[in-house]
């Protein structure tokens, strides 16, 4: 099964729609609730990252009986130093985004903790690609 979602930068009111959609699908497929929760966390954080940092992005989800693969590609400023971005507490989010309770520098570490595989790559000034996988 494949799903694709467009994500608009800055559109916080829609953030979480794709995650909640996929979560419903996984529940219907009777995937272990613990695993569904992990995937929902990773998806939501990834979605919010695009909303908070990029101009726009696409989330592609590929699902089979053994695993879920998720790829998010965005057009945006990119990440200057990925190692630093992965550090808990580091964030480049704007004050406005922080006031909403985002930008605590916990999103990427949350994704790492809740996925079996995670790969982040970026071209400065162009965009960022996040690939993640969870095995059922």
């Amino acid at each position: 099964m494949q799903f694709e979602y467009d994500i608009q930068g800055g559109d916080f009111s829609s953030a979480g729609k794709a995650s909640s959609d996929i979560k419903k699908v996984l529940k219907q497929l009777n995937i272990d609730p613990q695993i569904v929760r992990r995937i929902a966390i990773a998806l939501y954080e990834a979605e919010v990252n695009v909303v908070a940092h990029a101009y726009k992005g696409v989330m592609k989800v590929d699902l089979d009986a053994q695993k879920i693969k998720i790829v998010l590609e965005d057009e945006g400023p990119g990440i200057e130093n990925i190692e630093r971005a992965m550090q808990e507490g580091f964030s480049t989010a704007s004050d406005e985004v922080r006031q909403m309770g985002f930008g605590a520098g916990m999103g990427l570490p949350n994704i790492k903790r809740n996925t079996d595989e995670m790969h982040l790559s970026s071209v400065l000034g162009e965009g960022t690609k996040l690939e993640m996988m969870v095995i059922f």
Binding site: A15, G16, R37, Y44, G101, M106
Partner: protein, 116 residues
């Protein structure tokens, strides 16, 4: 002692239910306090009550994804109708406390603790 449901808790602690009154039979398991959404995403457990002063719509998405029992908004902060409608749609209970976070959580801690 039997654990109280949200209805009893709301009455006993003088909270006000703003959304999803039909779901007050839920029995909450402990609580989590944070205004950082990623903190809640990472650390809160299902069926917990979430105490926060955030009042934008994303708190509903977080509560729904984490399957939290209820959101308690502190300090009687005004909540937009749109948020409450979304909460009803996503089956999230929204409660309002007229006390600041510290007092709200203190009451909640004692209440849940003595009934453990």
């Amino acid at each position: 002692m039997e654990k109280p449901n949200l209805k009893k808790l709301t009455e006993d602690l003088h909270f006000e239910c703003l959304a999803s009154k039909a779901l007050l039979d839920r029995i909450p398991q402990s609580a989590y306090v944070s205004d950082l959404l990623s903190d809640v995403m990472g650390k809160a457990q299902a069926d917990m009550i979430w105490v926060t002063s955030q009042v934008h719509k994303n708190i509903v998405a977080v509560a729904s994804l984490k399957e939290l029992s209820a959101i308690v908004i502190v300090n009687e902060r005004p909540v937009e109708k749109e948020l409450l409608e979304q909460a009803e749609n996503e089956e999230i209970v929204v409660l309002s406390s007229n006390l600041p976070a510290f007092e709200t959580v203190g009451k909640l801690y004692n209440y849940l603790d003595t009934r453990r």
